[in-house]
Symmetry: D2
Subunit: 412 residues, 4 copies
C-alpha cells in the first residue's frame, strides 16, 4: 500500500517547437479537441512552456525580445476535459503547487519595443530590454538587476475554460467594435482573430483553419472566463472558481510566472518561465447561478511572501499626465504616474530606468486603487517592498550611488 | 520630573458650526493665515471635525445625506506653520495615533444622491443611503448593516501642505481645461473655485473673498501635494513625506476615517468621523530634490488588521462595461465591474445592494490593479476579507438567506 | 438620538495612594466586596493603576526599583459583579481597547535587585536597573535604551474571576506544600498569604483581616482562573474565556502593559503603566462544561504589530546550564540560555547587559518551545524583531560600536 | 549559454537500507569521513531519507511504530566538506527550498509506545499510534485525522556541523553525569554512545567501531552545534548560522519535516518524510567571535503560512501538574498542561485523544513561553490555528460531534 506519484496530464518538450506539440494551443475556441481527460476531484500535474514558447533565451542581449514573434505566443496546455462539467457549472481549481521545470531554473522579464508589443510606459521607454532571473529555491536574482533578490509568488498568468460559441461571438463583436471605433488613434487597441501561426492542438487542417478565423487571441483576459488575468496572488494554495461554458469545461492553463508585480507593467513583465502546476479539479454543479457569478473569483493561498506592512514604500500617482493634462478619474493614467514616481525614486541608487521598469513589472509590488471618487483625480498607489533590496532604500537612509550594471538591450 | 501630556495644536468644538471655528478652513490657498505654529521635531495632537462639518447625524434616515450641502465640506484643521520648513523641503509627518473623539464614538458612511454628489456606481445606485457605525474600541459595527464587524484601519483622508501661487495656478489651469473640454458630457467633472461657503480660517473679509475666487477645492487629491488622497493604509504608525511649497509649510489635515476600502467607492464612503491625530513633524531640508519627489510617498505603520492571505475572496473585473461595450485598458471601468461582481455575490445572504455598496466603501477591501497591459482589457481585483462577517461567506459554505435589515434611506 | 460615551465602571486617582482607593484590591479572595456591577453584554471602561501602585517614578535612578515594597503591588480594579454569571459559567471578556492614561504618557521596565524580587536571570544580573519609556501614539522609546523604538502590543497582565473558597483552599494547599518541600533551597519559591499591606477593597476591618490571612497573592497566574498570566498577545481585540467560580463572577483586572516580551524575563519586565481598558462582558451559561475548560482560553485580536517572518533573528537555547550541567528536558533552563545568547549577541553594538535584559523583557520578542522531546535537551528559541532597532542588526551587516548610553541604576 | 540544473551533493535510494548507503551516517563524530565536498558559495541539492530510514510504512496499523528500532534512526546525509571552513568560522547555510521526494508524496506522524521511545505525554497516552499524511502540493491531509488540512512549513529537523573531539568529550561527560545522577528515576534520561547499529558513512571497520564507542547520538540537539533542534520555522528561505568546530565543517542534515508544531510533542511528532533540500553554503571567517556565538542563530524565510493573529485559539497551561502538585517555574510541566488543555477542547468534535495528540505534534501550533517569572507558576500558551479545520472550532460556534474515524493503532 502507498500513495503513487501524481499523474501528469500533460508534459512539454523544451527541445521541440511549441507549435509542434499537440497538447498545446494558442487560441480560445470551443472546438479545439481535448488534450486529455481529468476526473472530477482528481489531482494532476500539468507542464507548461513559457508564454513565448521558448523564443527568449538566457543571453545578455535583448534582440530576442525586440524581434519576438507575437503571433506565436501564449501556448496553453490543454484543453482538458473535466468529467461531469457542463455549461452553468463552476469548475473549482485548486492550485496545489507551481514549480519551475528542474531542467530550466531560470526565467526572463522583458520590455518590448514600442513598435512590436510595447508596454504600459512605452511612450517613455520605447526600447527593448531584458533581464534574466536565476531561481535559487524559493528565491530569484538577476545578473541584469543586481542588488535585489526576492521570493517568488509563483502563479499561472492564464487559466480558464473555453468559451461557448455564443461567448466567443460576443468577444469578437465587442473587440471588433473597439477596433473600428479607434481607427483614428493609430495604435493597436485589440487583437482580432488572426489566421497566422494558429495552433489548435490536435485539430485537423479544416478545423485549424476555422479556429484561426474565429478563435479569440489569448492576450487579454476576459470577464466571462478569466483567461489571461495576470493576477499576482493567484498563487500556490489558491482556489479559483471558473465559469464553465462548454461540456467538459475545456480547461487550459499557461503563461507561468515566478513572480509578478501588480499591473505587470512592462507587458512581458512577470518573470516568465516554463514549469509544472499541480491542480485539483472539482465540479460545482449549477455553480454559476448559486454563486451569482459573471466573472471568476478566487481565494488566495496562505503562503505569500510576507514583508510586514511597515516594510513597504508607497508611491502615489494621480490622473494628471506627464504633460500636465488633467484626466477625469482615470485610474490607468494614475497608475502610470505612480509607476513613474517609483522609477524616479530608485534612480538615485544607480539603476538605469529600464532596470527599474523591469523590476517593477516582476517584483511583488502592491498596486492599489486608493481613491476613485474625488473628481477629477483618481489616485493609485504602488507599494515597493524594501526588503527585496540588498541595501537600505528607506527615505531616511543615506544614499550612495552604486555600480548596478545594466539590463540587456537590443543590439542596435 | 515626568513627561507632560502632549500639547493640542488645535481642538474643535462639535457644538459649534465648523464654519465659525477659525482653526479650520475649506480651501487650499497659500495665503490662508496660520492657525498655529509647530516646532521642528515636535509632537502635537490635532483635533478634526468630520468632513461634512457635522451635517450628518446619528439617525435612521438618509435625508441628511440626500440634502448635504457639498459646498460646506472638508473642513481642515490648520494651516499650521512648521518651523524651518521652506519650499523644496520635505515635511516628514509621522502619524503616531488617530482616535475618534471620546464624546462621539460613532461615524457614518453615505451614498450620495446622483443629483447631489453621486458616487462610483451612481448609474446603478442613484439614491441616497446611509449607515451609522458604532465604535467599540478598535472595532466598529452598524445597526444598518448587521452581520459585519471589523477593526478600524484608522487614518486621515486628507493631509498636505499648501500650494504655492504657481502650483495653485497650475491646478486651476488644468482643471478649468478639463471642465471646458467636457462640457458636452452633461456631468460635473471637476470643481472650480467657488466663492460660496468659503472658510479661510482667520482671514479677513478681503482675503477670504480672494481665497474664494482663487482657492482650490479640497475634493480631489493632487499630485503636487497629496491632499485628499484617501489612502486606506496611511494609518497609525505611518510616515508620510510631503513636498513643501510655501514658507512654514502650511500643513493641514482633516477628513478622518475610522476605516475605508480601496477606492472609497460610494464617495462619502469611508467611516467618516471627528477625531484627534497625534503627529510628529520633522523637516528634511532640500528633501524634494534628494528624494526625486514629485508626489508624496509614505511608509505604512506596522499595525494593520491582519486577516491572513487565505481569508479573502477576490473578485475580478475587466474593462468591458455593463452594456457589453469594450473599453481600452480602462482600469476605472474594470474596478467598477469588480465592485459590481462583489455586490452580486453578497446579495445571496440577504443584504440589499445599497448595504453592500456602503460596506465595500468602508470595510478594508483590497483593490488591486492586476493586469494593465493585455490589450484591450484592464483587469482589477477586489479582495473581501471573509472574517468581517459573522457567518461563513466562503464559496463552498451553505447559504441561508438571512434577515439583514436595511440601511437608512432618504424619506421619499 | 446618538450614542453616548462609554461608561466608566471604575476610575483611578493617580494623586492618591492605591491603598486608599476602594475600587482597588490586591488579593484574590471570594469575599472581597463588589466594586460595582456590570450588565451582561455591557461595554464599559475600567481604569487601572500601574502594578506597583505608583511606586516607580519617571527618573534616572533605579533606587525606587531597588527599594520597591513588593507587598504593595498588583492593585487590581474590581472585583466587578457581572450580572447573571454563576459558577460553571464562562465569562467571555472582549478587550475592545487598551490605552495609557492621557495624563501619564510613559511607563517603566525594571530589573529587581536579587535580594528584593529578583528575576529570570538574577544569578547573572543581580542589580536593580530601570528604563523609562515615553509613549508616542502607538510607539514607545526610552532615553535609557537608545536606538530602539516599537509599537506597543498593549494588554493587561492580569485578569480573572475570583476563586471559590474551594479553589482558594486548593491554591493555598499546593503552594504551601511547595514552600515546605523547598525549604532547603534557600530561595523564595512561592508567596503564601501575607497579612501585611492587604487591600481588600471596601471590606471592613474584620473581613480585611481574613482576606489577609486567607487571600491568594496576585503574583502567579493560576490554572483555575488565569490571573497574572502575562501573555503578551492577549491584547486589543482579544476575546478571553474565563471560568466563573463565584456568583457574580467577581472579575478583576490590572497590571497593564504597553508591551511585553514572551517570558517577561526581568520580572518587572513589561512596560508597566497605568491605563484604561474597554471591555465587553458576555456570560456563556454552563460554558465550562461545554468548552471542556479547566484553564482560560483566548483568541487574539487582529492588529498585532507585524514585522514579517523574515525580519526576526532567532536565538536557540538548550537545557545545559551556564556551568555546563546537563538538565533533563528543562524548558525553563533552555529559555534562560536562549535569553543569554541574545544578550551576548546585542552586546556588540554597545549596549550594556542590563539594557538588553530590560529590552528583551518588554520588546515583542517571540519565545517558543521548539523541541521538548529529544532527551535530554529541551530547545527553546527567542525571535528578536530587527525592525525595532534604528540600525541594522542582521548578522551579515557591518558592526560599529555605538554610544548607547545607559539604563538607570540604583545609587550605590 | 544557460544555467544548468543544480548539482546533487547526495542522493538517496529508498529501495535500499539506509544502513547500506555510504553518504549517510547516524552518529556525531569528528572522524566520520567526508561524504563529498561543497565549494564556498555553492548551491547544491541534498537528498535525505526519513528519520527512521524507512522503517515506517504507509499502512493503517501502528505496529511499525510500536516496534521501531530506535537504534537505527536519524540517518543524516553527510558529512560534507565545506571548502575553506575552519574551526571558529561560522557556516551560513541558506535553505533555499525543501521538497518531498516526487516518488514518495506522503509522510507520517507517530506516537511511540511508552516502553519504546515514549513522548511528551506518555504518562497519559502510553500506546503506539500513527497517522499517514498525503501531500497535495503545498498542503497535506490524513485519512487518519479527517477534518484537517494545512500547508506545510517544511524544514529539516536536524542540521549542524560535526563536533570537535573536545566538544564531543564535553557532550559525553555531561550526559553521562546526568544519567548517573538520574539512575533512581527508572526512566531513560539520555542516550549514551551505543555501539549497536552504528552507521559511520564510509568509515572502515576500525573507525566505525570507535565511532560507535565515542560518537554522540543524534536524538538531542546540543547548544554547541544545533543538531536536532526541531525548530518548526527553520524553513524555506531561512538563513542559519552554524558554529564550525572542525576543518571542512563536516556539515550534516536530515530528519526532514513537512510540518511540525512547537514542541513536536509526540516525539515522532512532525510529519516525517524523505526529501530534498536546496542549500547555499557560505563561510564567514572568524564568525563565532564576531557574532559572539555560542549556539546557532537563524533568520526565518518570508513565506510561512499566515493565518492572521485573530485566527488562533490559545490555550494556557501552568506549572501545576495533573495530580495537583505545584512545581516551581517549570515551563516543561506548564507546556504539558497546555497541551492537555487543547486535547480536552478538541475532544468535543469527535476526535479521539490520540488523533489530537498526533495533530498537535505536527500542525503549525504556536507554543509560547508566556510568563516565566511569577513564582511559582510558569505559564505557557499554545496557539491552535482554526483554519486548518474543515469545520468551525471557535468557542462560540455550535458543536456537533462528527464521525472522525481513528488514527492507526498497534495490533494488540
Amino acid at each position: 500500500m502507498g500513495k503513487q506519484e501524481i499523474r501528469y496530464a500533460a508534459r512539454v518538450d523544451l527541445d521541440k517547437e511549441a507549435y509542434d506539440q499537440p497538447q498545446l494551443h494558442n487560441r480560445w475556441h470551443p472546438d479545439i479537441p481535448f488534450a486529455g481527460t481529468i476526473k472530477n476531484n482528481e489531482v494532476v500535474k500539468i507542464e507548461c512552456v513559457d508564454w513565448t514558447g521558448g523564443q527568449i533565451k538566457n543571453t545578455d542581449t535583448a534582440d530576442d525580445i525586440k524581434n519576438v514573434d507575437l503571433t506565436r505566443v501564449h501556448y496553453l496546455s490543454g484543453p482538458f476535459e473535466i468529467e461531469n462539467a457542463e455549461p452553468g457549472d463552476v469548475l473549482l481549481v485548486e492550485i496545489q503547487d507551481v514549480q519551475p521545470l528542474q531542467s530550466q531554473p531560470w526565467g526572463f522579464t522583458g520590455v518590448f519595443d514600442a513598435s512590436n508589443g510595447g508596454g504600459f510606459l512605452d511612450e517613455v521607454y520605447p526600447h527593448a530590454a531584458k533581464a534574466i532571473w536565476d531561481f535559487e529555491g524559493i528565491f530569484c536574482s538577476s545578473r541584469h538587476i543586481p542588488g535585489v533578490r526576492f521570493a517568488g509568488l509563483i502563479h499561472p498568468g492564464i487559466l480558464g475554460c473555453a468559451p461557448s460559441p455564443q461567448v466567443l461571438a460576443e468577444w469578437n463583436r465587442r473587440e471588433a467594435e473597439l477596433i473600428s471605433a479607434s481607427a483614428h488613434l493609430g495604435r493597436e487597441v485589440a487583437l482580432p482573430p488572426q489566421p497566422k501561426s494558429v495552433h489548435a492542438g490536435s485539430a485537423g487542417a479544416e478545423l485549424k483553419e476555422r479556429v484561426g478565423r474565429e478563435g479569440a487571441r489569448t492576450i487579454p483576459g476576459r470577464p466571462e472566463h478569466g483567461g489571461n488575468c495576470d493576477i499576482k496572488n493567484l498563487s500556490r494554495g489558491s482556489k479559483v472558481y471558473l465559469p464553465v461554458h462548454v461540456k467538459g469545461a475545456k480547461f487550459s492553463v499557461g503563461d507561468l510566472h515566478f513572480s509578478q508585480g501588480d499591473g505587470e507593467i512592462s507587458f512581458c513583465g512577470a518573470i516568465e518561465m516554463a514549469g509544472v502546476i499541480t491542480f485539483k479539479f472539482t465540479v460545482m454543479k449549477n455553480g454559476m447561478q448559486e454563486l451569482g457569478m459573471k466573472s471568476p473569483i478566487y481565494i488566495p493561498g496562505p503562503v505569500e511572501p510576507q514583508f510586514g506592512p511597515g516594510r513597504y514604500i508607497y508611491f502615489e500617482g494621480f490622473s494628471v499626465d506627464s504633460a500636465g493634462k488633467q484626466h477625469y478619474l482615470d485610474a490607468t493614467i494614475a497608475y502610470r504616474q505612480t509607476s513613474l514616481r517609483c522609477i524616479e525614486y530608485l534612480r538615485r541608487y544607480g539603476y538605469n530606468d529600464y532596470q527599474i521598469y523591469l523590476l517593477l513589472s516582476c517584483a511583488p509590488v502592491q498596486g492599489h486603487i486608493a481613491g476613485i471618487v474625488d473628481i477629477p483625480n483618481a489616485c493609485t498607489t504602488m507599494g515597493l517592498p524594501m526588503d527585496i533590496f540588498d541595501f537600505d532604500i528607506s527615505p531616511g537612509a543615506p544614499v550612495k550611488k552604486l555600480d548596478l550594471g545594466a539590463c540587456a538591450f537590443a543590439s542596435s
